[in-house]
């Protein structure tokens, strides 16, 4: 029996059927859990629906309401603010960690440690930080107070709440993002750095002239993924602030959840979900185009 053959592969009959069998589970999952709910969500966005009685067609009513709903626009603004802080800080920090991991150390223990917060569930991370940052009782504020500063209402003040939640999630996700970028760095051939060194380039210059251009496709994919994830922030908000104070952290997903499962307005919640889908799709296409994620400068 030969393991490799130089002759061109012969297409055997029945391959298609076999392929269909292999694809079927994933296809079934895609149809049942993705395509059908999406289509149904779009349909429900044109209805008034409380889950227990049949949906009633209302045309564009939900969309008209959404456009005129100040809370919707407010929550969209809050969400964008969150995404900007979360992605900005997270990407910069992850990139720095990944480069340091690649250029300075081979220790897999260090790489492991970087990933540790990611092993914790979002809800647990949120609760732990909530307790640390509690204005009156949290150890974080006890330290701030012991150092002679005023206590900071991290999660209870409308100015602080969104940056705090954004940074809690940076803390949890930065290791994972760094690891993704690190994998991208590993793909950059070492000769590039050696050649740059021979030419007398500094680490700083190598970073901007070698690392960044060659990392671009990976970074682009990481950005697209993290931005989508960031727009969907929900659990940290649910356990730390529940949308408060005074709607200051009422991010879009939380507003959608409250409208659907708290107020039984599934039609309106679906309309807002469709809006979020449109926004995310537009951002993804834009990012993909701007960062030329499909092309590599390598080779």
């Amino acid at each position: 029996m030969t393991i490799a053959s130089s002759s061109p592969p012969v297409r055997r009959r029945g391959d298609g059927a076999l392929a269909a069998v292999f694809i079927a589970p994933a296809m079934l999952g895609f149809l049942v859990f993705l395509l059908w709910p999406t289509l149904r969500g779009v349909y429900l966005s044109f209805t008034r629906f409380n889950l227990l009685t049949p949906a009633e067609w209302v045309g564009l009513d939900n969309y008209v309401r959404m456009v005129n709903d100040p809370i919707f626009w407010d929550s969209l603004t809050v969400t964008v603010e969150y995404v900007l802080i979360n992605i900005g800080v997270q990407t910069t920090a992850a990139l720095a960690i990944a480069v340091l991991l690649q250029r300075l150390t081979q220790s897999s223990l260090l790489r492991g440690i970087v990933l540790t917060p990611y092993l914790m569930s979002n809800v647990v991370a949120g609760l732990v930080w909530l307790w640390i940052l509690d204005t009156q009782l949290g150890i974080g504020n006890e330290i701030i107070s012991a150092l002679g500063f005023d206590r900071i209402p991290f999660l209870a003040d409308e100015t602080w709440a969104i940056p705090t939640i954004a940074l809690i999630n940076v803390w949890r996700h930065v290791g994972y993002t760094a690891l993704l970028i690190f994998a991208g760095l590993q793909a950059i051939p070492n000769d590039m750095y050696e050649a740059a060194k021979v030419d007398g380039a500094s680490e700083w210059r190598m970073f901007w002239r070698v690392t960044m251009p060659l990392l671009r496709p990976v970074l682009a994919v990481v950005l697209i993924m993290t931005v989508i994830g960031s727009f969907q922030v929900f659990d940290t908000v649910a356990v730390t602030t529940a949308g408060g104070p005074a709607n200051a952290t009422n991010v879009l997903q939380y507003y959608i959840y409250g409208s659907a499962f708290g107020r039984f307005q599934f039609g309106y919640a679906s309309a807002m979900s469709v809006a979020l889908l449109v926004v995310l799709s537009a951002i993804t296409v834009l990012q993909y185009r701007l960062t030329r994620a499909g092309q590599s400068d390598l080779g």
Binding site: L51, L52, Q136, G244
Partner: protein, 447 residues
């Protein structure tokens, strides 16, 4: 061969686990079983005892009780209504009643023979829907009183009699404001009513905080708005207009949140619904007194190394004291597969036979007078004086009791009022902004 046997075995185990899980879910649809859900873990043993009595009286019928924490409870119940896995009977809350009635998921209980006069006043009437049918059988009740740290009160020179005799008004706050000002101590040991008091560096606040109070202010501002004579809606039940635009309401709210401005009440920035509610502030010694409900009696009693007393709410401009009196009920789900059994169980739950048993556990005040008496005796046995909670029900001349607002769209009302009240408390927004919120609420109710 061995591998095949192993995998067959594994398959069999998995299958049995799956089917086992399916059998073990909360529904247990069977003619012999009645499924019952409640959220208060403290009450579970009492109702288990009740179920035993019921099963003895009704051979062949089993009650299966499931207890779930407050927030999971409603999520799971909602999911259960949708998926058809709802319990036969569940503990119902008046705030959810309107929504459930609207969704048509409750079974009418008109034929259970629930008589108003068998229960504490008002409890049975609240569970009649707009269609005139009854949807809940009275289970228990609670009122709100003033819990206080006995040592801090003594240090401030306040006696139990003084704390039980407080009065307030929205102009100068009356003896109530003077008391909490005196209970407040700043970092340098100066009391709130002493010269040089530093409101920005307070060590112990006079009054603890339970947040903005959503749309009802049950343990926040409602003892004040109630004793000022204000009501949530235009009618006692199923009102069609909310009255947050009333001058009385707004002046009381302004005075109440103003207590935080003056440094006498825990500021909004220090409160957190998860990590730092009023009972935590009291337990941590960060506040001296707080309004809280009867369901918290055991919690406050359990604080280690701290004696907590309770006093009646302060008398208001109307000359009367006021507290919300809320009552839970048991409801049967419309989709229940064992309605006959469920009816029997609910009738039993609403009877003196069950409520007296529950009362003896001293964890809640049952709705029937005999059940209440049993509970008072049980609390007494534990060394807890609960008269601050029972007096408002017994003495209707000096006390005004009122219910949660019972209207449609309660969840929408809360969603609109919560940020509005937090804005006033946390950001110092003007109370006149409530006019607009009230208009929005009434617009929702007009739908």
């Amino acid at each position: 061969m061995r591998l095949r046997t192993l995998s067959a075995l594994a398959g069999a185990v998995t299958l049995s686990l799956v089917t086992g899980c399916a059998q073990g879910d909360g529904t247990g649809a069977s003619a012999n079983t009645v499924t019952y859900w409640l959220w208060d873990a403290n009450q579970l043993p009492a109702y288990q005892a009740c179920a035993k009595g019921f099963e003895k009286e009704n051979p062949g019928l089993d009650v299966k009780i499931t207890q779930l924490g407050w927030s999971d409870y409603w999520t799971k119940l909602t999911a259960g209504f949708i998926a058809g896995t709802q319990p036969d009977v569940f503990t119902d809350h008046i705030q959810k009643f309107g929504q459930f009635a609207d969704l048509n998921v409750l079974e009418p209980l008109d034929d259970l023979g629930i008589e108003e006069s068998d229960y504490q006043p008002g409890l049975a009437a609240n569970w009649i829907g707009q269609d005139g049918h009854r949807y809940g059988a009275p289970k228990d009740w609670d009122t709100v009183a003033l819990f206080y740290n006995e040592k801090l009160a003594k240090d401030a020179g306040l006696t139990a009699a003084e704390l039980n005799g407080l009065s307030w008004n929205p102009k100068d706050g009356g003896t109530f404001e003077r008391a909490i000002a005196h209970l407040t101590v700043d970092n340098l040991g100066r009391r709130g009513d002493e010269p040089g008091f530093d409101k920005n560096n307070v060590k112990v606040y006079g009054l603890a905080s339970n947040g903005g109070g959503y749309a009802d202010g049950q343990t926040q501002w409602s003892p004040f708005t109630g004793s000022a004579g204000w009501s949530y809606t235009d009618k006692a039940r199923w009102g069609t207009k909310y009255q947050y635009d009333s001058e009385t309401f707004q002046s009381v709210v302004q005075w109440y949140f103003g207590l935080a401005e003056k440094g006498y009440m825990v500021p909004f920035a220090d409160y957190n619904v998860q990590s730092n509610q009023a009972n935590t502030q009291i337990a941590a010694g960060k506040a001296a007194v707080t309004f809280d409900g009867a369901w918290m009696i055991s919690t406050y009693d359990g604080f280690k190394g701290m004696d907590i007393g309770s006093a009646v709410t302060p008398a208001g401009p109307t000359g009367r004291r006021a507290t919300m009196m809320n009552g839970l009920a048991d409801s049967i789900t419309k989709a229940s597969e064992n309605k006959a059994g469920a009816r029997k169980w609910v009738a039993y739950l609403a009877s003196d036979r069950c409520q007296s048993v529950v009362g003896r556990y001293g964890v809640v005040f049952p709705a029937t007078p005999a059940g209440t008496e049993a509970a008072v005796a049980a609390y007494e046995k534990k060394g807890i004086d609960v008269s601050a909670f029972t007096e408002p029900v017994a003495d209707t001349e000096d006390f005004r009791t009122f219910s949660y607002p019972i209207t449609n769209y309660a969840a929408d009302v809360t969603a609109l009022m919560q940020p509005a009240m937090e804005d006033i408390y946390g950001n110092g927004a003007p109370v006149s902004g409530l006019d607009k919120t009230n208009d929005q609420i009434n617009l929702v109710l007009d739908q």
